[in-house]
């Protein structure tokens, strides 16, 4: 049976991980390649590396890092952050990334999804959606949650699905950083309306949150950063717990 996936996300700035310097007394905790390797050994099912650098020089460092990850890590990984055109996609894939994640660029020019899919296939194209819920419903945001759009989460997700993207990475801005659990209601609605896998992001605080995101939110994968980086939840422990709770997981 296809397993639910646990995905640690590493924010990378100028070639160094941003969070998690007190992780596991790891001397190289700032090195995304070393940290990724540890996660992989601990049973992470995939990794996401997010480039949060703004500078041109930082972008080049990131591409070098992607090459190192591809050479040293033997599980699939996605890269995102700053991918805005086909040339960026091509650069990341030829550096060895298995998938790329696009966010604002897809909202600005949805055709980009079609182009990626027809050139490289659905499986490489992850579309990340940051959305916030208020009394009017769920609204999609640009630029890492800074600029609201006119787009509704469910409409945009359906369009992304229909344009052929391979997966949707949905971050609830209401839940992100609060550590009170994932947006299970919205996730469950996405699962019922879409035909592609959904990766849940935002809200992981304790192991029960992961059980709920799979059992109630019907997510295909769960992504988290700080609970893993700061060692609040260890992946082997989490996976053993989920298995016991009846979630199909790779041990």
């Amino acid at each position: 049976m296809l397993a639910k996936r646990i995905i640690p996300c590493l924010d990378v700035k100028d070639g160094q991980t941003v969070k998690g310097t007190n992780f596991l007394q790891l001397r190289q905790a700032g090195d995304p390649v070393e940290l990724g390797k540890i996660y992989s050994q601990h049973g992470a099912d995939e990794l996401v590396f997010l480039d949060i650098t703004a500078s041109h020089e930082g972008r080049k460092t990131f591409a070098d890092m992607v090459q190192k990850v591809a050479a040293e890590i033997d599980i699939p990984f996605t890269v995102g952050g700053g991918i805005s055109e086909m040339a960026d996609v091509e650069r990341m894939l030829s550096a060895g990334a298995d998938k790329i994640s696009i966010n604002s660029a897809a909202l600005r020019r949805p055709q980009l999804i079609d182009e990626i899919v027809s050139h490289f296939g659905s499986q490489v194209c992850v579309v990340a959606i940051d959305a916030h819920q208020d009394e009017k419903g769920w609204t999609c945001y640009l630029n890492g949650g800074r600029i609201p759009t006119e787009r509704n989460l469910f409409e945009w997700a359906k369009e992304v699905n229909d344009r052929g993207a391979g997966e949707i990475l949905f971050t609830s801005m209401n839940h992100d950083g609060v550590k009170q659990g994932f947006a299970c209601e919205a996730l469950s609605r996405l699962a019922s309306e879409l035909t592609i896998p959904v990766i849940a992001s935002g809200g992981a605080g304790k192991m029960e949150d992961f059980r709920d995101v799979f059992a109630l939110g019907h997510a295909d994968a769960a992504l988290a950063a700080s609970v893993f980086h700061f060692g609040q939840i260890s992946i082997p422990e989490l996976k053993a717990y989920l298995k016991k709770e009846g979630i199909n997981i790779r041990l």
């Binding site: 049976m1 296809l2 397993a3 996936r5 992989s40 099912d45 591809a70 050479a71 040293e72 033997d74 599980i75 699939p76 894939l93 060895g96 298995d98 490289f120 296939g121 659905s122 499986q123 391979g166 997966e167 019922s192 035909t195 592609i196 896998p197 295909d220 994968a221 790779r250």
Partner: protein, 215 residues
């Protein structure tokens, strides 16, 4: 040991090269017939679309060279599919090593998402051919319960990404279940193949690659 990786227009060939390098093997990426014939092992990897890949292989004569190889060959993902007789993807005739037809997954329930992407369990089986062989050589029967590539890996997880599959057939060496059972791995004579990506399947994948190199 000389390991050749078939050079063609498929994506993600470098992930196989990296996996071999991690195991201390420096493979040769080539589409040269002599290099492929003289290698100790040949790996036919890839990700991509079947009819484009076949077109490229035909242009370079690789469609005749690959089936004629007598050294151990391992096809991966689209590699396994191209080793079959025909693929629904682009309605194309393939290499015909395995007498099987590649089909597109058809979802039965809403939860059946295409592509089949992620970690799924392997269940090695003894192919009909191996069963026959073991039967006729009972004196040499070493109790082998399946292809030596997957020994001891029953129930282990491997990483899959694909929308097309090979149904279970006489050459099936391991079964995985998604929507229905399909060929996760195949074997016939010196030809081996996996639908999953051993190069992306962590420890289990590395074990399978090592088993192939140590056949």
């Amino acid at each position: 040991m000389k390991v050749a990786v078939v050079k063609y227009n498929a994506g993600n060939i470098f992930s196989v090269i990296h996996a071999l390098q991690r195991m201390g093997v420096e493979p040769l990426l080539t589409d040269n017939a002599e290099e492929l014939r003289s290698a100790d092992r040949v790996i036919f990897p890839g990700q991509g679309e079947a009819s484009n890949a076949m077109h490229y292989l035909r242009e370079r004569g690789l469609d005749r060279i690959i089936p004629s190889l007598t050294n151990p060959v391992l096809g991966i993902c689209i590699g396994q599919q191209l080793m079959c007789r025909h693929s629904e993807e682009g309605d194309v005739d393939c290499l015909g090593i395995f007498d099987a037809e590649v089909k597109r997954f058809v979802p039965l329930r809403h939860e059946d998402k295409i592509p089949h992407m992620g970690w799924n369990t392997l269940h090695p089986v003894q192919s009909e051919e191996l069963r026959m062989k073991n039967k006729s050589n009972q004196s040499e029967d070493n109790g082998n319960s399946g292809s030596s590539l997957f020994e001891g890996l029953d129930g282990e997880f491997a990483y899959f990404v694909h929308s097309y599959y090979v149904p279970v057939c006489q050459h099936t060496a391991a079964v995985t279940e998604y929507i229905h059972p399909f060929s996760a791995a195949m074997q016939k004579d010196n030809f081996f193949a996996t639908q999953f990506h051993p190069e992306k399947s962590g420890r289990v994948g590395q074990q399978i690659l090592r088993n192939f190199l140590e056949l």
